[in-house]
Symmetry: C2
Subunit: 214 residues, 2 copies
Amino acid sequence: MSTAAETTGGDIEPWEEVTPDAARRLLVAAVEAFAERGYHATTTRDIAGRAGMSPAALYIHYKTKEELLHRISRIGHERALGILRTAAEGEGSATERLADAVSSFVRWHAGRRTTARVVQYELDALGPDARAEIVALRRRVDAEVRGIIEDGVASGEFDVLDVQGTTLAVLSLCIDVARWFNIEGPRTPDEVGALYADLVLRMVGAKDAGAARK
Amino acid sequence: MSTAAETTGGDIEPWEEVTPDAARRLLVAAVEAFAERGYHATTTRDIAGRAGMSPAALYIHYKTKEELLHRISRIGHERALGILRTAAEGEGSATERLADAVSSFVRWHAGRRTTARVVQYELDALGPDARAEIVALRRRVDAEVRGIIEDGVASGEFDVLDVQGTTLAVLSLCIDVARWFNIEGPRTPDEVGALYADLVLRMVGAKDAGAARK
DNA sequence: GCCGAGGGTGAGCGGGCGCTTAGGGCGCTC
DNA sequence: GAGCGCCCTAAGCGCCCGCTCACCCTCGGC
């Protein structure tokens, strides 16, 4: 595989943009708690406790518990979109770019599983406005993947009957990694990424799947 | 497609086994509420209200709110397992049986989306004992699909490097349908089932995919 | 040495939660 | 038609939730 992140985790911690330090610690604590128990089952006291602070400290940096989820969700989606865009804009054939996109997207969902879980499964806990903003980001995620698949169909590399349906299935497959992946399981994020890139190339009927496995 | 359910919904309502009538109405109300808002965000008052009863009525038929989830989860998993087993034990080649299994499993996840959502995504809300029982059922689900894939590899119909990993991916793809499927969207459960059966046959490198599309 | 601002705390508010209890109505049995 | 058992309700208990408020400590500027 190519481009960015080679390591197992996939990426640098993306929370460095959150300041000040106390706000970041609270946000990281919230990600862990939301991922473990879900948004609704997590209490503000639990989040503050994990960050080593009193319950009231949370409200100095965030207006509500929902604002925390919103910030996490937006940053996470931007990160995911960035990963796909890097792959989509890369050089190489559609086959290579799709393999790259899937393997890095999957590596992120496996390696940063706690973040990905919150990002992908807690969307419904947001209010209408925040939800609409995140849904717009998701449509751009969909468009990136669909773009690569359309390129491959146009160039004759892929054989796909239902482009939108296949796009949906490919994204769905990658996203669900966040549900089942277990750090202590038998597979590393890199291995799952490689397996999934191969499976997706089969799904789109890529003629020359072997070439993308550098 | 073959075997059971031809209609859009996929199956008869599986709750007929729950008696008495009031207990069933409560259970159906709970499925709807859990699917819409999640287990933790659903209140016992909401469940009772949907069933047209007072909050206290719930506790005549169920010991706790968790027992409701447990009953829903067990019945739902048994239903899902039954669908896969019917397909796995059918006659015909591994290719045909895999296509049948995937299309009926997907039809269930799309058509009975509310039930499937609760079954697939609220597992973590169960206590350790109930959770262990459900996890055992899931292993049997996994074994059914793996069995078909192993048959296809043995007979030379399929070309699969990592049988366990591919099994996981196939199940993951089907299960995630419950997350994104929308009854009011452009696709019927039957259409998604057919699309997914085709995609899965490609994933396992089925030599004669066309033959399974009757 | 004093001051103000900003990050932090302890205590606690109003409210909604899961669940319990005392009792009421209705239909069956004889 | 008295007695009994089964469903169900009204009321409410104790608890913990998200969030607020009054106050404190620390630190840079002068």
